[in-house]
Amino acid sequence: MAAVNPAIQPDVHASHDHKPHGFLHRWLFTTNHKDIGTLYLIFSLTMFFIGGSFAMVIRAELFQPGMQLVQPEFFNEMTSMHGLIMIFGAIMPAFVGLANWMLPMMIGAPDMALPRLNNWSFWILPFAFLMLISTMFMPGGGPQGGWTMYPPLALEGGMNVAFAIFSVHMMGISSIMGAINIIATILNMRAPGVDLLRMPVFVWSWLITAFLLIAVMPVLAGAITMLLTDKYFGTSFFHAAGGGDPVMYQHIFWFFGHPEVYIMILPAFGIVSEIVPTFSRKPLFGYQAMVYALACIAFLSFIVWAHHMFTVGMPLGGNLFFMYGTMLIAIPTGVKIFNWVTTMWGGSLTFETPMLFACAFVILFSIGGFSGVSLALVPADFQYQDTFFVVAHFHYVLVTGAAFAIMGAVYYWLPKWSGHMYSEKWGKIHFWSSAISVNLLFFPQHFLGLAGMPRRIPDYNVAFADFNMLSSIGGFWFGATQLIFVGVIIHCVYFSKQRATERVWEGAKGLEWTLPSPAPYHSFTHPPVVTAGMLAHGDVSH
């Protein structure tokens, strides 16, 4: 490619210089989008294991009825910290890491628009999470009121309340700065020829996600600041006794919380829209429909928040409005699923590890979507709400949805990042072991919830024993399987002998695949000359 496209020549040259020397200079002071992307991804993987270890404690206590391992308050600490760490520490930073690495390379930009801001938004995170995790070693322990921090319960916490709220504020600042950077990059730094409607769908998904982040992270900050003043400054925003309203917190929280759910899934949609066409060797079906569906889902995410709180006693009209709004989301989401399947139809398919993860995503995310449609039906939700059915639902969309998409993305782009091929055999072992164990882990939880098991309980009636045991076995298996993932990555980066080609995958299209592998430290220092054929979607007519 380099020979064909002269604009890329300087980049090849740039690959062997300009890297800062010294560990601190390279990593602490870095403004390079690739280094920052790597930092985000390593951080996210670390948090994935810390949050995962909390989940192992949860599943171990739930392995059989009776209290065997931990006190109920520690169990509550585990569920709360598991939620906070997986959402803010694992899933979100992983997507930001992928955005950092890939967006400039996909749109032909030399770096992110605001590189110093980029450094700052990453380096806030380790401190925020250090502070959050440190609460577990304080008198009274960490947060025990759930990741949603509903008052009045959350206000009963000890000194952890102030620390947890401050750390969530820091995470919010990091996310907002990251989102500003992404919007500035996408809107200003596209190479000539990369029109908005020719951008890769992953770039589109991140553009929309970034707007969601800017819109809702301040709302979360407001909600938890009110918690803080209620606890320490004598206000009564959420104290019924002082004329406040505990339900108002839930409204404000979920006005953040529901778009947050899509912040964690839209980039996954983008990733799958990259992987499926590559391994189908066929263009993405209905590109514009995919983009409009993303925008439509993002818009709807702002008007459905109260479906998380159908049982708080809203008036009939309120419940009906939020039920209809929520059901509407099924339509653009359905369009996306149908389009991925149709992209595969008539293609020439191979099933390397990224494609396996993408196919599993389409099927298992759909299952999470189906339970989502059921949950939207208010009378049925009166039964499902706050049970293991809900736990099964959101783990299907977040683990087999978001996390599977992230894993697929890592396998997809790892050769481009490292310059080596990963072990396809071990990648496939990782995939199959994950896909089987994750279903053993989460599918029985549907039955538990329907039979009457509430969520967030450390102990249960013996009727729930069998499915809990199956679920725990699936959980330990899934947790152990992720060590394979780490092994495959380490092997690929440091030990793999197999060099990756420029294009890596036969069917891959897009500007990132015109760069050498590994991608040079500074890429596209001169804008590439873009031809329609270089892009996955060069045709703007549909």
Partner: protein
């Protein structure tokens, strides 16, 4: 030990049979949770039966869509494999197809929304009840006040907490077997209380639900709904139970340390028996009030 091993095996077999039955969508109307239970209970009121039907309708619609979409996907995955010599086509757009698969889901959603709306309207109608019970959630027990029965204040109230047997077994490291906790034949571990809520069958009962400290949620699956108990708010909901029996539930909203240990038991009895029970409790309450030295554990 051996005996419990045998029951365990027998239960596992019964469970497998159930699993096979449940997979076909035929589900018995279990009153309370049983091992290997796969589905929501149909419950003991007309409303809970309609909730179950709505849930099943949702399940069938979703399963139908799933079967079609996944079938197409699997056909594509086998038919268009490169290893079978498939050559990629280049089309990427088909307006008619896209319109069709936007409209079909809309129709299916209307099919679901219609019965859901009608049911929700009926569930919302709390008027014309014969019995009103106020339910108050505390950390970590429930208080029940019989506020009104046939236009009169029965003046009966009591606190309902986890039964002592479950409470003993559930302590960390107790080493006691949860399977051994029984209420009659039912393994009632963590689903039994000292004072059940006694209500009549065939009578429309209105519940006023609130909380005194943090948010709780009052949930008996066989009644078909749960309702959050929120400090400063009084939520209402209603039921009309068709069959006498013991119906068990739990707090469903995280409420702190012992969230798992504040169960609910509703004892539905024939109306005459209920009136007798109410009269006994009323005179007992009056007697203790007259002595004036009521140990205030009961209120």
């Amino acid at each position: 030990m051996i005996a419990s091993g045998v029951t365990r095996t027998r239960r596992a077999f019964a469970g497998l049979a159930l699993l096979a039955g449940g997979a076909l969508g035929s589900t018995a109307a279990f009153a309370n949770p049983v091992p290997w239970q796969l589905n929501m209970p149909q419950g003991v009121s007309d409303i809970s039966k309609r909730v179950y039907d709505l849930h099943m309708l949702g399940l069938y619609v979703c399963a139908g869509i799933g079967i079609v979409v996944f079938a197409v996907m699997f056909v594509a995955m086998f038919r268009f494999r490169k290893s079978r010599g498939a050559v990629a086509q280049t089309w990427a757009h088909n307006t008619r197809l896209e319109v069709v698969w936007t409209i079909i889901p809309i129709l299916l959603l209307i099919m679901l929304a219609w019965p859901a709306t009608r049911l929700l309207i009926d569930m919302n109608d709390v008027g014309e009840s014969d019995l009103t019970v106020k339910v108050t959630g505390f950390q970590w027990r429930w208080r029940y006040d019989y506020v009104e029965y046939q236009k009169q204040d029965p003046g009966v109230h009591f606190i309902s907490s986890l039964d002592t047997e479950s409470n003993r077994v559930r302590q960390l490291g107790s080493g006691l077997d949860p399977n051994a906790v029984k209420d009659g034949d039912y393994s009632s571990y963590l689903l039994n209380v000292d004072n059940p809520l006694v209500v009549p069958v065939g009578v429309k009962i209105r519940f006023l639900i609130t909380a005194d400290d943090v948010i709780h949620s009052w949930w008996v699956p066989t009644l078909g709904w749960k309702q959050d108990a929120i400090p400063g708010f009084i939520n209402d909901n209603w039921t009309k139970i068709n069959t006498p029996g013991l119906y068990r539930g739990q707090c469903a909203e995280l409420c702190g340390r012992d969230h798992a240990f504040m169960p609910i038991v509703v004892k539905a009895v024939p109306q005459a028996e209920f009136e007798q029970w109410l009269a006994t409790h009323k005179s007992a309450a009056a007697a203790t009030a007259a002595v004036g030295a009521a140990p205030d554990g009961q209120g």
